[in-house]
């Protein structure tokens, strides 16, 4: 895992998944989060893009939780779909 920070952008990489969020995107509805994942060797794709409050400590690479309004949603990376899907 590695984490870098500059003025407006924050990266956090765990395994094949790199979480990016833009600080200036934050409002009362949360911040915008992106994850770029290595779909297959050498090829990175955007696998996640949502706005909400990332629950502290919930980003575990292939899994994360986001609060949108009052609802907490769990997203899990689907290896077959190559993107994060919301779990029921």
């Amino acid at each position: 895992m590695e984490a870098t920070n500059d003025k407006n952008i924050s990266h956090e990489r765990i395994g094949k998944h790199e979480l990016i969020y833009l600080k200036d995107s934050c409002s009362s509805h949360g911040c915008e989060y992106f994850i770029f994942s290595e779909a297959f060797p050498g090829c990175k794709v955007q696998s996640f893009h949502q706005t909400g409050f990332l629950l502290p400590g919930s980003y575990k690479g292939k899994r994360l939780k986001i609060r949108q309004k009052q609802i907490i949603k769990t997203f899990l990376y689907s290896l077959q779909d190559k993107k994060f899907v919301v779990l029921p």
Binding site: L22, F40, C43, Q46, Q50, T51, L55
Partner: protein, 763 residues
């Protein structure tokens, strides 16, 4: 005024009176100590004096605007009448009576004849406007109540915000107007808490559907903040840390004395029942870790954020106090200016935040994507439009507010009067409607395009937003495949998934394509040996098998998590039961148990996903309530550990060669990857789906459209080209909200009003 000026004015009036689309008129109001006075108390002398201070141009503009405004106001008055069961004849009688009364009282009131001489021509149109405005409030409010006790709320425009009426569109089958008793409650509560009741109602309409009226709520940290306890955000949870919907804060324990807030809460509780308020003191306490719900106690609780209440109220009132604090939250927001701006819309915007590019990530409808709220506070503007074009002139609402103010003997500050000196003012009735309508979309990206910035120079967020717009406008963009609009996709997908109970993404089967077929179809310029090609294909095929197995295991872990949640829910149910029985100490214990259960469950599941068998074992020892899940949890952790290790070692062995091929031919490699499967034919799909339970032929149109849409998405989209095409040709017709919306943004016509009213009265 000279003869020419009068002639100009006359011509001006003729132009405006013959137009049926123009609908603005000045709305007058008088402020005293930031409180808005009733329409009958509008001070005409003050207004005329203000007009005398204007320069000639401004005076002419004002006079012109008021001249046509009188007729427009009457038209709006008739519109409000047509939205109810009032007879227009009776309504007009009210108007003429009001006009006569105003003329009589004003003639005697304005004592300075010189003053009136210079604004003589303005006088009649002003009186007419004022009488019109007063009459709206003097209509019988009961004519706006339906048989099932819903409230009819006239709103003049055909736009995305017409949902305030209860009807999302003119053609929709059902309308669900707001319940009268919910509006009554919001008015009563708002006045008790010193909140502008029009604003409170408007915000409720902005935040949800009419049936959600009165349901605003605060996060736990919001409650602490309003009480006045300081807090600091923390990265992780822990002892004494507040978990506000899984976001963590360290809140300072304190006992806050705030007489103003306490008095408001006293009014609020008195309104709920005089038996709820007595002499003495009580405390509203929320433990700083949020382990228990807020409670009313005689003495301050330990480790809590408490508000001293300068009255006694029973323990059962804590929920009411929590609810009352949502109104105080509104008060605090609108009392803070945004960067020195004076327009109230900026203050109201604080509820929605100040993004510069309404994103593709939020659940925001496509027509609103890309608005810059830092330049144009659209949320605040629409709230103001609801107040000016609907709520203020709803006879039921305005009568109820006046009655409630008298009953509670309260003067409540108005958002219209905030930071205004005493005096009489006016708004153009359409000021905010026009601002929302002409809000610029995607301005931040358009500016970059105009400076020569290409798609690849946009930030990931900007790319995501513009991609959404490109998909939405695909049919008009020659560089895009032929895609359905998002709203249509959503409509068909929900039809299909409701009827067939299957995920629309799995609606069409994909079959594998033979390697020889992919080899034959691959781009001729890709210099790849057959041996390397087979190596790549073999890697992908084997990787897909690993992925399939791993995804299945991941889903099993998720099922285990759901089962754990049911276990944790038991203590929460018990907590609620005990709370109802007022056994607070035992209830608190159950709440703590529930919280611990949730945390342990989260840790447990995370460690299973990580394949950390040892840690899973440790958590099981610490949490006896998970014993029944022990065997499954351990087994899943072991399974995922070995499956991930196998996949990783496989990928590692092939990584170097795969990266080499991909870096040489990125696009062609991607194409080969996608070519490995093909979708079944539409005929085959329909015949297969028609055998499924829940199928009926009315689904065919949606299934065919989704098939076309998904097939079009298989083609790789050249976003940089599509972006160029969009800004060169399409953007000019998608620049504003009005342009991108499906609604006309014109006033509702008589037929539309009757359609809507018919549906409302049928409910």
């Amino acid at each position: 005024m000279n003869k020419n000026a009068l002639l100009n004015l006359f011509v001006f009036c003729l132009i405006f009176l013959s137009s049926s689309t123009v609908y603005p008129f000045p709305v007058f109001y008088t402020c005293e100590n930031e409180v808005i006075l009733g329409p009958s108390k509008i001070d005409s002398t003050d207004l005329f004096e203000k007009i005398l201070l204007l320069n000639k141009d401004e005076q002419n503009k004002t006079i012109s605007s008021w001249c046509h405004g009188g007729k427009d106001c009457i038209e709006r008055f008739k519109f409000i009448v047509s939205f109810s069961t009032v007879s227009e004849k009776l309504a007009m009688k009210v108007f003429y009576k009001e006009l006569a009364a105003i003329k009589e009282s004003s003639e005697s009131e304005i004592k300075n004849p010189d003053l009136l001489e210079s604004v003589k021509n303005l006088k009649d149109s002003f009186y007419e406007l004022q009488a019109c405005q007063n009459s709206m409030n003097k209509l019988n409010g009961d004519d706006y109540i339906t048989q099932d006790n819903s409230l009819i709320i006239p709103y003049p425009f055909h736009n995305n915000y017409m949902r305030i009426t209860g009807c999302k569109s003119v053609s929709g089958r059902v309308c669900k107007p707001v319940a009268k008793n919910k509006i009554d409650t919001v008015i009563e509560e708002a006045i008790a808490m010193g909140t502008d009741p029009y604003l409170a109602i408007a915000i409720n309409f902005m935040e949800g559907q009419p049936e959600d009226m009165g349901n605003l709520s605060l996060d736990p940290i919001g409650v602490m903040d309003i009480i006045g306890c300081r807090s600091k955000r923390e990265k992780k949870g822990g002892k004494g840390i507040l978990n506000s919907y899984q976001t963590y804060y360290k809140v300072n324990k304190s006992v806050v004395q705030d007489t103003k807030l306490s008095n408001k809460l006293k009014s609020f509780m008195t309104k709920k029942g005089t038996s709820l308020v007595g002499n003495g003191k009580s405390h509203y306490c929320y433990d700083v870790a949020g382990k228990t719900k807020p409670r009313i106690t005689t003495i301050p609780q330990k480790n809590s954020c408490c508000l001293e209440l300068e009255f006694k109220t029973p323990e059962s009132s804590s929920g009411q106090v929590t609810h009352a604090l949502t109104y105080e939250f509104i008060n605090r927001k609108v009392n803070t200016r945004y960067k020195g701006k004076t327009d109230p819309a900026w203050r109201i915007q604080r509820f929605n935040g100040f993004t510069n590019l309404m994103g593709g990530a939020e659940a925001v409808p496509a027509w609103r994507v890309g608005v810059n709220y830092r330049k144009n506070p659209g949320y605040g503007q629409q709230t103001m439009d609801y107040i000016l074009n609907s709520l203020m002139f709803n006879p039921y609402i305005s009568n109820k507010i006046n009655k409630e103010k008298n009953d509670q003997k309260k003067k409540v500050k108005s958002i219209l009067c905030s930071n205004k000196k005493d005096g009489t003012y006016y708004y153009e009735s359409n000021k905010y409607f026009d601002k929302v309508k002409s809000s610029v979309r995607l301005g931040v990206i358009a500016d970059k395009f105009n400076l020569g910035g290409g798609f690849n120079e946009l930030t990931p967020r900007e790319q995501s937003v513009i991609k959404r717009e490109l998909l939405e406008t695909a049919t008009k963009n020659s560089k895009m495949p032929n895609l359905l609009r998002t709203a249509i996709v959503t409509k068909y997908e929900s039809q299909v998934s409701n009827a067939l109970k299957i995920d629309p993404n799995n609606l069409f089967k994909k079959t594998n394509v033979s390697r020889i077929e992919i080899w034959d179809k691959k781009d001729a310029d890709v210099l790849l040996s057959r041996g390397d090609f087979d190596y790549i294909m073999d890697t992908w095929d084997r990787e897909a098998l690993y992925n399939q197995v791993l995804d299945k295991t991941n889903l099993k872990i998720h099922e285990l998590e759901q089962s754990l949640n049911i276990t944790c829910q038991k203590s929460y149910t018990k907590y609620l039961e005990l709370y109802e029985l007022k056994q607070f100490k035992r209830a608190d214990k159950e709440y703590v148990l529930h919280n611990n259960c949730i945390h342990s469950s989260d840790d447990f599941v995370n460690e299973i996903y990580n394949g950390n068998v040892n840690r899973v074992g440790e958590i099981l020892k610490e949490t006896p309530s998970f014993t029944r899940h022990a065997r499954e949890g351990k087994a899943l952790a072991e399974t995922i550990f070995s499956q991930e290790r196998e996949l990783a070692s496989f990928e590692e062995s092939r990584y170097e060669k795969m990266v080499l091929v991909f870096s040489k031919h990125p696009k062609a490699t991607q194409k080969m990857y996608d070519a490995r499967t093909t979708r079944e034919s539409i005929g085959g799909a329909i015949s297969r789906i028609s055998e499924l339970p829940g199928y009926n032929s009315s689904l065919d149109k949606g299934i065919r459209s989704l098939y076309m849409h998904q097939s079009a998405l298989d083609i790789e989209i050249d976003y940089p080209d599509a972006y160029q095409e969009y800004f060169s040709k399409l953007y000019k017709d998608r620049r504003t909200l009005e342009m991108a919306s499906d609604y006309s943004w014109k006033k509702l016509n008589q037929g539309q009003v009757q359609d809507i009213l018919g549906k409302i009265l049928k409910n």
